[in-house]
């Protein structure tokens, strides 16, 4: 490190030449403007790389981030849509000494807070001794009375603990907030690290940065050891409020990284004082629950009865000692800002030592003198709720008008106990890449601790967050701030441990996969259906557009009318080319076709199907490989212009189509055709990944059943609406049907260019070697239903009987007979067979859903009623 040349960051050409000095403590530069020594390796590496190369690599990384959907649903965002996590590539570099000071301070604090919790949920001596005002307990929604007296092994109340820390102008660290209730951010810190290490591998290596994986291993070990039963191989679940939650991405990400099952309240049930996971194959006991629900929402029976996300009976099973919950319910109490001014005395009393890392100066208004202090210094105070409660945003005194300040003072006087005033810390600054320039931003770091043996271990890093501009001290994602990776330098050789490698403990080999929650099976099934629905629509649309663009009009292509009608039937998008006004639309089909592609508000449109597909994929995010997820994200059709910020990144090629479509009305059908071509390839990629990368377990089975069912439906629908009524010269139509069903090549190889209905029907209906034929789908379905988990019954299950009966009907059908027409030019045998099959398929779907997925009691977030055709 010392051999590096001294760097003059202000020199022309340095990426940092425009980096401004402010009055705050700066993480990178000392008070004379010289580079702090622990930043030297990074700055040197960055100067070698150059700003333009950094910017270029960063553009690539942003693409990765978008695909990974590192998102944060900001509450204030009226759309509630996924917003990419604003990450910037310049880490905060933390010196070894600072890292050690933070570690010591936070471990002490976490120990102290555990003692406070043990007293609160036990003897409550601190109140009687006058160290804790009774109001802070009794008037605190974070104190959960039903959890009082629950025995917590070794009084470990904080298996996970996080603290927001900031640094004042004199270099001192301060704790700004304590987090014990589902502390979020550790997963984002991990994601930031992975992105950054991938973007700047050389820089990362040269800087000797401590790895995060050991911390997560501690988390896993700590949680495993909590298990009351099966301590060798406990089942640990991560309980999430669900995909609509702020930090759902992180829940899914962490669950996958740590190897826990991601569950929602509805996936769990309590029987005989034990918590079970509802799996396809039955109930499996759960040993440890890592919950991301607020404490009070975890059990609607004994805690907040209005919670719909919790597990009724959970508190009872904790009483019975059959399940461990991390953190123990009620730990959220220590998030109370009202505790902060009490900590120095509590630390002396409980740990017999002075508090190492101070809290930012905080005054609880329940105390009269503190209240007066807050009221007389309101202009430089941050006013926060004194107790952990439903997210009320802090109020910055300096930003209020005199009138607003008076109103606030009135509110404080009316309910003094409910408020604290916090001194506004003049947070330190750190460099951030803004556009293509390096600027300074104010910094707040969330540090993470996990209980480990009889102490804690601290994540060597953390989630750094920065202000949106250099003028504001407000650091929050809700107001548009960004995040960063945090690099804590290593004292020696960096441990290259990774959780993705085998751990020291031997693991029992397992090929099982019964761990599929019924809800996940349901979502995978519908994912399969939607993917295939999209493909069916794309193929038919493409077949139509090819014909429309090659010729100058509908009149030149007689088979078009039939195809357009089939399209309306296929997507159930009446009236379309069938119902009222069909004649006009058939004569000029462009408008209707574009609407069927791009109109997301229209049920059955390609865009609506893709949206449903992505929504359902999001719910099983943790069960899809990264590559599969990427394919699905890229299926996005042109976004509605009004929903997106005008971000150049987001204006992909496809966005241009929708702009054309919406504004200029120039119907560039050929460009839409190119888009459909791309989609066919992406959908094929999904199919390939599912085929090649998913283990043949129940999850894959349900996904594939969904696809096979939907494809059967498409094939039946296509044939029923094209070939049942015979046309005078059927050649072009037969060719189109073969092409849409992706079977032209096979046909040509077998029959050369002789187009006859009988061989076409044979190929598309009965040929079990053709992956597009109906028989092929039924054979696959038959294999699937035979392998569904069930109690061993000697006779065939209802779903087996339906598949077998349909398959037999197809196998027994005579292609020549099917192709024969009656006097009205109708093929009666074909008609009868298809209408029978068309009736069988929905029954099969119903049988599977009621048999296996009916105890899915959660509201399913699928499309509208009309999308669920078979339901």
């Amino acid at each position: 490190m010392t051999s590096l040349p001294r760097t003059d960051v202000a020199a022309a050409g340095s990426p940092f030449q425009h980096y401004p000095r402010t009055g705050s403590y700066d993480e990178m530069l000392d008070e004379r403007g010289d580079l702090r020594s622990h930043w030297r390796p990074f700055v040197h590496a960055l100067e070698t790389l150059g700003l333009s190369e950094l910017t270029r690599r960063w553009e690539e990384a942003k693409h990765l981030i978008r695909e990974d959907r590192v998102t944060y649903n900001a509450h204030a965002d009226p759309i509630g849509s996924d917003r990419p996590w604003e990450l910037d590539p310049i880490p905060v570099v933390v010196s070894l000494a600072d890292g050690q000071a933070i570690e010591a301070g936070l471990i002490q604090r976490a120990r102290l807070l555990e003692h406070v919790l043990a007293d609160l949920y036990g003897p409550q001596e601190l109140v009687r001794e006058g160290l804790l005002p009774p109001e802070v307990i009794f008037d605190n929604p974070g104190f959960l009375r039903p959890c009082h007296g629950l025995r917590i092994p070794a009084n470990r109340y904080l298996h996970l603990y996080a603290a927001d820390i900031g640094r004042s102008a004199d270099g001192q660290f301060w704790v700004i907030a304590d987090r014990a209730q589902a502390p979020s951010g550790a997963g984002y810190a991990l994601e930031n690290r992975i992105v950054l290490a991938r973007t700047l591998p050389d820089v990362f290596r040269d800087c000797q940065v401590q790895r995060l994986a050991l911390f997560f291993r501690s988390v896993r070990e700590t949680l495993s050891q909590l298990a009351p039963h099966n301590r060798d191989n406990p089942r640990i679940v991560l309980l999430t409020p669900g995909p609509s939650h702020d930090t759902y991405f992180e829940h899914a990400y962490l669950a996958r990284y740590l190897g826990f099952t991601l569950v929602e309240g509805g996936d769990l049930t309590v029987r005989d004082n034990r918590v079970f996971l509802k799996l396809l194959g039955g109930l499996q006991p759960v040993d440890v629950i890592l919950h991301r629900l607020d404490d009070s929402l975890c059990d609607p029976l004994e805690l907040r009865s209005d919670s719909i996300q919790g597990v009724p009976g959970l508190v009872q099973s904790i009483w019975a000692g059959n399940v461990a919950v991390a953190n123990p319910l009620g730990s959220g109490f220590i998030e109370s800002p009202a505790l902060m001014p009490l900590l120095p005395k509590l630390c002396e009393r409980l740990l017999d030592e002075p508090l190492k890392m101070p809290s930012v100066p905080t005054w609880w208004c329940g105390d009269e003198r503190s209240r007066e202090h807050v009221l007389s210094h309101l202009h430089r105070m941050i006013i926060k709720p004194a107790m952990p409660c439903d997210k009320i945003a802090p109020i910055f005194g300096e930003s209020l008008s005199a009138d607003q300040r008076d109103t606030l003072a009135g509110q404080i006087r009316a309910r003094p106990r409910a408020f604290v005033g916090q001194e506004q810390l003049g947070l330190s600054t750190t460099p951030a890449l803004i556009g293509s320039q390096i600027q300074s931003r104010h910094l707040l770091v969330r540090a993470f601790l996990t209980a480990s043996n009889d102490s804690f271990s601290v994540m060597p890093g953390g989630l750094a967050r920065v202000s949106a501009t250099c003028d504001t001290l407000v650091v929050s994602h809700r107001t548009g701030g960004g995040s960063k990776d945090t690099w804590v330098l290593s004292p020696g050789r960096v441990s290259t441990f990774t959780l993705l490698r085998p751990t020291v403990q031997p693991v029992e080999l397992s090929r099982g996969g019964g761990d599929l929650p019924s809800r996940a099976a349901d979502n995978l099934y519908w994912l399969g259906r939607y993917v295939e629905r999209a493909e069916g629509a794309v193929r038919l649309l493409r077949g139509i557009l090819v014909r429309l663009t090659e010729k100058s009009g509908v009149a030149e292509v007689p088979e078009l009318t039939t195809l357009l009608r089939a399209l309306t039937y296929q997507g159930n998008t009446l009236p379309g080319f069938v119902g009222e006004g069909a004649e006009a639309r058939l004569a000029a089909p462009e408008q209707e076709l574009l609407s069927l592609v791009f109109d997301g508000t229209r049920a059955g449109s390609l865009k609506a199907t893709c949206a449903a597909l992505q929504a359902v994929a999001g719910m099983v995010r943790d069960r899809l490989s990264v590559d599969t997820w990427r394919v699905l994200i890229n299926l996005e059709l042109p976004p509605n212009a009004d929903r997106r910020r005008p971000d150049r990144q987001a204006r992909t090629q496809t966005a241009a189509f929708s702009a054309d479509y919406a504004s200029t009305n120039s119907r560039t059908l050929s460009r839409v055709l190119a888009l459909l071509d791309q989609m066919v390839i992406k959908l094929a990629a999904f199919g390939g990944l599912a085929m090649e990368s998913m283990t043949r377990l129940q999850g894959w089975r349900f996904l594939d059943m969904g696809r096979r069912l939907e494809r059967s439906y498409h094939t039946i629908s296509l044939l029923a609406h094209t070939l049942v009524s015979a046309q005078p010269s059927e050649g072009p139509l037969l060719e189109a049907v073969l092409e849409i069903a992706d079977s032209s090549m096979t046909y040509r190889r077998r029959y050369l260019s002789n187009l006859h209905p009988a061989p076409v029907l044979d190929l598309l209906l009965a040929d079990e070697s053709n992956p597009r034929s109906l028989a092929f789908q039924l054979v696959a379905l038959s294999e699937h239903v035979e392998n569904l988990p069930r109690e061993s019954v000697p006779s065939r299950s209802p779903e087996e009987r339906i598949v077998l009966s349909s398959l037999t009907a197809v196998r027994l059908a005579d292609a020549e007979l099917l192709a024969t027409t009656d006097s009205a030019s109708v093929r009666p045998h074909l008609r009868d067979l298809l209408s029978r099959l068309e009736a069988d398929i929905p029954v099969l779907s119903d049988t599977i859903t009621t048999g296996y997925l009916s105890h899915v009691q959660l509201p399913r977030q699928l499309g509208t009623q009309s999308l669920d055709r078979f339901q």
């Binding site: 309590v270 029987r271 609607p300 029976l301 009865s305 009976g313 009872q316």
Partner: protein
């Protein structure tokens, strides 16, 4: 006085309930002037699991789970309770109400802390300036606590009308105050809210009321539901029960089941079910003197 109490609650469901978890407060608690001589809980269908414990406030509570599909659940609690005539301590209600308020707020002894916790807001009861203004005329400066409380009780009894149709569990206290109608639970919540708004600790009491039979006629059977009233802290002199629905201080006519901050802490039956569809509830309470 010894009472035999039978309390039956019948739930009928439109669709099968796959699993039902319940937490009940149906065992009379023992207190200074009451002891429970005998108690049993009969549940149909027979629960797969029953577990008894005490809640945070010291009330006996029973958790049970019915884990088989069922369309009907009958919970019958039978108890024999000995209730002594309650006579408040002479000095109890004589202290000026402000003295009780301040004593409880500043003393850190276990007894005072136990009282102090009942000054704060709870799920169904939030202090407000409206409640304080309604209470104010009864709380003249220096007035003895019991006198002030009974004046408030009398006013609630005369200002408010007993009306079973006017409110539900979800009706907020401010609506009860505005509309001046409700049932025993509303009046108990209301008076507790008034007292807490004045800084006087008050807790919610769930229980039964003796139904005095007319001379020469058999006891009224099955005509009554459970009852609710409140209890006011008199600092070191303990608690005095007050029944605003009947404008009286219960002596040996009220059988206490449980107490807490409000209904939410001590509701006789609380349950969460999976399935069930639309359901109906029927309650029958018999209180017979032995």
């Amino acid at each position: 006085m010894i009472y035999r109490v039978s309390h039956t609650t019948t739930y009928e469901y439109g669709a099968p309930v796959l699993i039902g978890q319940n937490l009940v407060h149906l065992t009379p608690r023992t207190s200074t002037h009451q002891s429970c001589l005998h108690q049993r809980l009969l549940i149909e269908p027979v629960p797969g699991l029953t577990s008894a414990r005490h809640d945070y406030f010291g009330n006996p509570a029973t958790f049970f789970a019915i884990q088989e599909p069922h369309r009907k659940m009958i919970v019958t609690a039978e108890s024999v309770v000995d209730v002594k005539r309650f006579v408040p301590h002479d000095a109890a209600g004589k202290q000026p109400w402000e003295q009780v308020r301040d004593r409880v707020a500043n003393d850190r002894g276990p007894l005072m802390l136990d009282a102090y916790q009942f000054v704060f807001d709870s799920r169904y009861i939030q202090c407000s300036s409206d409640l304080a203004s309604y209470a104010a005329p009864s709380f003249a400066a220096g007035r003895p606590l019991l006198e002030a409380v009974m004046d408030l009780t009398r006013r609630i009894h005369s200002d408010f009308q007993y009306d079973q149709q006017a409110t539900t569990l979800a009706t907020p206290l401010c609506d009860v105050l505005t509309n001046r109608r409700g049932v025993c639970q509303d009046f108990a919540h209301l008076q507790i809210g008034c007292l807490r708004s004045m800084g006087v600790p008050a807790r919610y009491v769930s229980g039964y009321l003796r139904t005095r039979p007319n001379p020469g006629r058999p006891p009224t059977v099955g005509a009554h539901a459970s009852h609710a009233w409140l209890s006011v802290s008199c600092a070191e002199f303990g608690w005095i029960d007050v029944d605003p629905t009947n404008n009286l201080i219960p002596s040996d006519t009220h059988i206490t089941l449980a107490w807490g901050r409000d209904y939410d802490d001590v509701s006789p039956i609380k349950g969460v079910i999976l399935g069930g569809g639309h359901h109906t509830v029927a309650v029958a309470v018999d209180v017979v003197e032995q």
